[in-house]
């Protein structure tokens, strides 16, 4: 039962990847990312619902609040403060990136079948979901010009790694998990500050203007 729900959630998260690739406006990109964060937060609860303890609940809650509310809020604030246009300008335009993402998702499913997995993980979509999200993150990182969309790409990449980390949910100690979460949050906070400074220094968040430094 929980396996099916888990797979459904991961499938939805993979769908959100494609939505993120196809969305042409920043708010919808941020929304897709935050929704994915909330799904990711629910997953540990589903996986561990028989042996639920405070540790899992804490991690799940922190993930949901951090990835679903805090980070998107920060990004929205940066977007408002910078008063930038909401249109995303792509290097790789939407249709090719969508097709790339879809191809990547299919390849991820195929690849995950070839990987040696423990029997309890073989039936889940955790590994394909992780690979697909990482690919999506990379496409967004490379293919978008606005600093905030690149940050979203980075966060989707992190989400993919988090999905992979769920394989190890039994064995990683709380300290490590919370440390990782803390680092990610601080990282986005730092990125937010830099985005703000770039906006002030360049009067734009278009990374195509950051081309002074080259050989």
């Amino acid at each position: 039962m929980s396996g099916g729900t888990l797979n459904l959630l991961i499938g939805l998260a993979m769908g959100l990847n494609l939505l993120a690739l196809g969305s042409s406006r920043l708010p919808s990109l941020i929304r897709a990312m935050s929704l994915q964060g909330v799904f990711l937060g629910v997953m540990p609860l589903l996986m561990e619902y028989e042996t639920l303890n405070w540790r899992v609940v804490a991690v799940a809650l922190a993930t949901m609040v951090g990835k679903g509310v805090l980070i998107p809020g920060l990004l929205r604030r940066a977007m408002r403060a910078a008063n930038i246009e909401r249109e995303i300008e792509p290097f790789i335009s939407f249709v090719p990136s969508l097709l790339l993402g879809a191809g990547g998702t299919i390849a991820a499913v195929a690849l995950a079948r070839a990987l040696p997995l423990l029997p309890e993980h073989a039936g889940t979509l955790l590994v394909p979901g992780a690979i697909a999200s990482i690919l999506t993150g990379f496409i967004l990182l490379i293919g978008r010009a606005k600093a905030i969309s690149q940050v979203c790409g980075y966060l989707i990449l992190e989400n993919g790694i988090y999905l992979f980390g769920l394989l190890l949910i039994h064995s990683t100690p709380l300290l490590v998990e919370s440390g990782i979460l803390l680092d990610v949050t601080v990282g986005v906070f730092v990125i937010g500050i830099i985005v703000d400074r770039i906006q002030r220094a360049f009067d734009s968040l278009d990374t195509r203007k950051l081309t002074t430094l080259r050989e």
Partner: protein
């Protein structure tokens, strides 16, 4: 207990510096806590503690072989920092001083981390803490460099997290409990799942290699080193890259225990040679003397990587090179900072004749350049010689030839830029700008001391240091 002090003392210093009210006296926190750290480190160096195998943190032989160099470099840079921040007294330095001390603490944690997750957390924290230091100058160029550093470094660090998870899964899949301490992973050895170990190795090499600045993941380095204050460049090049190198060494020993050491060695050798080649080619083209230092750093990271690929003797040589390169590069960065400040531009198109305007800094710069291109009797000469010896002993003739060729190319590139700046007649604008810069003892003595240390390391390598490097090599490659 003392190994925790190494982390706690600088962090307390950072907190105090953040709370300290005076902008003028705050920089003194740097040398005071740097000195405390050096004393602690060398006390531990001489009386190494016994580290419990399951400990997450410990002053183990590898930390003992590297951390003193970082600590020493930090102290001297800190002394320079006092005079530097006096010159830059117009800018608030609260964040700068606090984060530099925090980086020292986090570096100590990273070097001593014996747990994969903890290592990652420390490295990521160092990466993030360095961000505000890079844009201390608050110019648009500095922000551009910071942004590139964040994106490239962040991606690298994300990949290393994925690699850590893969290694954990290798343990789980091999029937282990997923204990991520290096001791447990090495003990599981051949029981680790091979495909996952190899995936993890690739991801971790790319991830920590990004942090270290190995080509082709080095692209953040020229930007960051070019735009950051030179003291930050010195600490990044001598400290932060080192923690990534020890991370790769620790992971390499796990991969070796899993029976895939030959593959790891081959990738390390290839990526090292590639880094040297890329760096040498870029050195022939660059016109900016601070970016030149960055490419030189890429080249030396390549040397470290090659050393790590050559087994026990090579690792000992690489650890020697960590010391000699870190200290010499520090001298170069600090003197380059002086020249940059006096000249008002980092490009050899605008800067000439600095031997007339800043004679002492220029002399240190030229000597440091010869030292770093392995002129005897400085440290880098002997460490690179040891790497070559190890390579020839391992039968890597072609690699040795390429290594020497890259060194030669890099020598041409470095001399081209350095003499272009030092020689000739200064331009009038440069002359006017240089009059505002005075070569006080505060900015000359620290690079001079670093250069002296490099010379001392080359001429009289202390036996205790050799013993520490050899011990670290045996920790990583236990004799079969």
């Amino acid at each position: 207990m003392n190994q925790f002090l190494l982390i706690i003392v600088p962090l307390v210093g950072a907190a105090l510096a953040a709370a300290w009210p005076s902008n003028r006296t705050r920089p003194w926190f740097l040398p005071v806590f740097g000195l405390l750290h050096v004393v602690l480190t060398f006390w531990l160096f001489i009386n190494p503690p016994v580290v419990a195998p399951e400990a997450w943190l410990g002053f183990d032989p590898l930390a003992r072989a590297v951390l003193p160099a970082v600590s020493l470099l930090f102290l001297i840079c800190a002394a320079y920092g006092v005079s530097y921040l006096r010159i830059r007294s117009e800018r608030p330095n609260r964040v700068f001083v606090a984060l530099l001390l925090a980086i020292l603490g986090l570096l100590s944690a990273g070097h001593q981390a014996r747990h994969l997750g903890l290592l990652w957390i420390a490295t990521e924290a160092v990466t993030l803490a360095a961000v505000p230091l890079l844009h201390f100058n608050a110019t648009p160029r500095a922000f551009e460099a910071t942004w590139k550093y964040l994106l490239v470094g962040g991606t690298g660090i994300a990949l290393s997290l994925l690699g850590s998870f893969c290694l954990g899964y290798a343990s789980l899949h091999g029937g282990g409990v997923g204990d991520l301490t290096f001791t447990a992973l090495t003990a599981q050895g051949a029981g680790l799942s091979r495909p996952w170990v190899l995936t993890a190795w690739v991801l971790l090499l790319v991830g920590y290699g990004t942090k270290m600045g190995l080509a082709p993941m080095h692209t953040w380095k020229p930007d960051a080193y070019g735009e950051a204050p030179s003291i930050v460049g010195a600490i990044l090049a001598g400290g932060v890259t080192t923690v990534a190198f020890t991370a790769i060494l620790r992971v390499r020993s796990v991969v070796g225990a899993a029976g895939e050491g030959h593959i790891a060695d081959r990738t390390l050798l290839l990526i090292g040679l590639f880094s040297m080649l890329v760096a040498a080619l870029f050195l022939l083209g660059t016109r900016d003397f601070k970016r030149m230092l960055a490419y030189s750093s890429v080249e030396h990271m390549g040397i470290l990587s090659i050393g790590a690929a050559l087994g026990g003797a090579g690792v000992a040589a690489a650890l020697f090179h960590v010391w000699s390169n870190g200290l010499t590069k520090g001298a170069l960065f600090l003197s380059a900072g002086n020249i940059r400040r006096a000249a008002g531009s980092p490009s050899m198109d605008d800067v000439r004749g600095m031997s007339l305007l800043t004679p002492r800094s220029a002399a240190i710069f030229v000597t440091g350049m010869f030292a770093v291109t392995a002129l005897p009797p400085f440290g880098p000469f002997f460490s690179e010689l040891q790497v070559i010896r190890a390579a020839l002993a391992a039968g890597q003739g072609v690699a040795t030839a390429m290594f020497l060729g890259c060194l030669l190319l890099a020598f041409f590139g470095l001399t081209r830029v350095v003499f272009g700046i030092v020689d000739g007649r200064p331009r009038p604008t440069t002359r006017a700008n240089a009059q505002r810069f005075v070569e006080t003892a505060g900015v000359i003595v620290p690079p001079l001391v670093l250069l002296g240390l490099s010379l001392w390391l080359g001429l009289f390598t202390p036996a205790i240091l050799r013993e520490a490097w050899a011990a670290a090599a045996t920790q990583l490659f236990p004799a079969p």
